[in-house]
């Protein structure tokens, strides 16, 4: 039963103590042997129902590759037969020099059909030369790449006329086995990049630089059957399952040509969904500080308390009210709490016996003298106001009222209020 707007519930109690426990028992029943029969029935049925196949990333990637290959071959054939040589390029490409120490990367613009090759200006001539992309087997494409590159007028590099041969020796151009082209640096093997004309989402080729995950993630480097995989973790499988924060890299090498290799790394930040505090209500005595702690098992979270100036996992609270904290992992979560303050030095009787025997004859709140100006309201079980005072003097004795439970609401001058039930029993 509840009379006043305020609820004081022990934080340990998972359910509302104000709802009759008897009501919480299961009032429903089931037909006899229902569960036994149900189980038999379902088992009989599922025997004829196939299970959905497990989602298989390899199969999916393989499928994508086959689809991509078909697309590519078709495009190739269409190009061969319908277009002139100069239009043979699907993409034109531009070499761009970065200011930073950034490594090489490629960028494509599908609308303009342009590939931007971002390179580091601090690269040595040799490195750049080796990096110089030769797209496909097409002479014109190669030439085009060179033109763009020269046009940028980089004084560090003057491509010589024999450049083509030199590069050809070093670079294994794609023989159309796969639908993507590669730009490889043989120098260190670390900053090579891969460009793919047809997207193969889910594979190595589409890895972002970093990723934040709340569940373990599968890193998949699958490029094809005839490749060896070597992970920074020591694994040699096509994919690895990651459930920790770290930088993971993989080097993929063609089995028939160890020179054809590509490396890629990714920063994985693994921050699970935060476990929020199971408590909602905090009861405290006036003057005490309540510590609410939402600290998570790992340090990767950011905390932001609203209404409390704190970015720590724990907040010290000394005012009643509703408090919220944002916990930021991969996403932001919100936890909330209600803090209720009471005057704990008060002793409020739960029962009075106004029979003039000198004991418990009135509703006497011990130490009330410390709180002048305390108002009181007392209600009977029909919720009717039976007594009221703006400055309670410990003098209510249920005069003229029958025995039974009464509800009191004490409001202190400092804004705190306390409520409860007092039983009147004269005998």
């Amino acid at each position: 039963m509840k009379l006043f707007g305020k609820h004081i519930i022990s934080p340990d109690d998972p359910v509302s103590p104000l709802i009759d426990k008897a009501a919480g028992e299961n009032p429903f029943s089931v037909p006899e042997n229902y569960f036994e029969n149900f189980q038999k029935d379902i088992i009989g049925k599922v025997k004829h129902i196939p299970q959905s196949p497990k989602f298989n990333i390899y199969r999916w990637v393989a499928f994508t590759f086959v689809a991509a290959l078909i697309t590519f071959v078709s495009l190739y054939i269409i190009n061969e037969y319908t277009q002139s040589d100069s239009e043979n390029l699907v993409y034109k490409h531009e070499l761009v020099f970065n200011d930073s120490n950034q490594e090489v990367y490629l960028e494509t613009d599908d609308v303009q059909k342009t590939i931007f090759i971002h390179v580091n200006p601090n690269m040595s001539k040799e490195e750049l030369e080796r990096l110089l992309i030769l797209f496909g087997n097409n002479e014109l494409a190669r030439e085009n790449a060179k033109t763009q590159y020269t046009a940028l007028n980089c004084d560090k590099i003057v491509p010589d006329n024999n450049g083509d041969e030199d590069i050809e020796e070093d670079i294994e151009t794609d023989n159309n086995t796969y639908s993507h082209f590669r730009a490889l640096s043989y120098n260190t093997g670390t900053y090579a990049e891969v460009f793919e004309m047809v997207s193969a989402e889910g594979s190595l080729l589409s890895w972002p630089e970093d990723i934040c995950v709340e569940r373990p993630i599968m890193l998949n480097a699958y490029l094809g059957e005839d490749f060896d995989y070597k992970w920074s973790t020591g694994d040699e499988t096509e994919s690895i399952r990651v459930k920790e924060t770290g930088i993971f890299s993989v080097t993929v090498t063609a089995q028939d040509n160890p020179k054809e290799m590509v490396s890629k790394s990714i920063l994985v930040r693994y921050i699970p969904v935060p476990v929020l505090n199971n408590e909602y209500y905090f009861n405290a005595c006036v003057g005490e500080t309540v510590q609410i702690d939402v600290k998570q098992g790992i340090d990767a979270y950011k905390y932001n308390w609203q209404g409390v100036n704190s970015t720590k996992p724990m907040a010290s609270i000394n005012q009643p009210g509703k408090y919220k904290v944002e916990i930021q992992g991969c996403r932001t979560y919100l936890d909330s709490f209600i803090v209720i303050y009471q005057h704990c030095d008060l002793s409020i009787p739960a029962i009075i016996s106004p029979n003039n025997d000198g004991f418990n004859d009135a509703f006497v709140v011990d130490n009330l003298v410390n709180y002048p100006g305390t108002s009181i309201e007392i209600y009977n079980s029909q919720k009717e106001l039976v007594f009221q005072s703006e400055d309670y003097q410990n003098d209510w004795n249920a005069d003229g009222l029958p025995d039974g439970p009464y509800y009191y609401l004490l409001k202190f001058a400092d804004g705190i209020s306390q409520e409860g039930i007092v039983n009147v029993r004269r005998n």
Binding site: S16, P27, D335, S336
Partner: protein
């Protein structure tokens, strides 16, 4: 007989030869609590039975997609909860005309229900729960009857714990109010 662990059950289901047996174990372990979860939402036994059928057939079909990152029972609960909601949405429910809307003669219907053996106070509580909006109803049921942790409820319903706490708080308040009203 001690109940089997989820790992045991799942590994048996994975193996084609023992799949039936594994699934029987899964049902043995979870069918009753799943049934009560559904029954508390739908009230009517026949409705609950329909949804149970759909739920466990879905569980069977999709068990290979179950990711062991979450608990098996919260996964089953989630399927059951969704099935129960679609059942109400499809207007097949005996007690609910549409979602979040209770039949006006709920009390009398409950009285006539042979599978409802509750006392007056229990009937009143069911009626009170029935007046709650859908999410509050589920949160209240899971927390009050199943004593599930907020984290598990969040896994089933897919909302934040902050929202859940507030939902539960509001639901409990409404029910208190309903129960104390004459």
């Amino acid at each position: 007989m001690p109940k089997h662990t989820d790992e045991e059950i799942l590994s048996r289901i994975k193996n084609k030869k023992t799949a039936d047996q594994g699934f029987a174990l899964l049902m043995e372990k979870y069918q009753e609590q799943t049934y009560w979860q559904i029954r508390r939402i739908l009230i009517d036994h026949d409705d609950a039975n329909d949804v149970m059928q759909n739920t466990f057939i879905k569980v069977w079909k999709n068990i290979s997609k179950f990711r062991s990152d979450s608990k098996l029972y919260t996964w089953i609960y989630r399927i059951a909860t969704n099935e129960a909601i679609s059942f109400i949405k499809s207007n097949k429910s005996k007690y609910y005309v549409s979602l979040d809307e209770m039949n006006e003669d709920f009390g009398e219907q409950l009285e006539a229900d042979v599978q409802f053996k509750g006392t007056t106070i229990q009937r009143k509580l069911q009626k009170a729960i029935a007046t709650l909006p859908n999410r509050q109803k589920m949160v209240f049921n899971m927390r009050y009857f199943d004593a599930m942790s907020y984290q598990d409820i969040a896994d089933v319903i897919g909302v934040s714990i902050g929202t859940l706490k507030a939902s539960y708080h509001i639901a409990a308040k409404k029910i208190e109010k309903f129960l104390t009203e004459d």
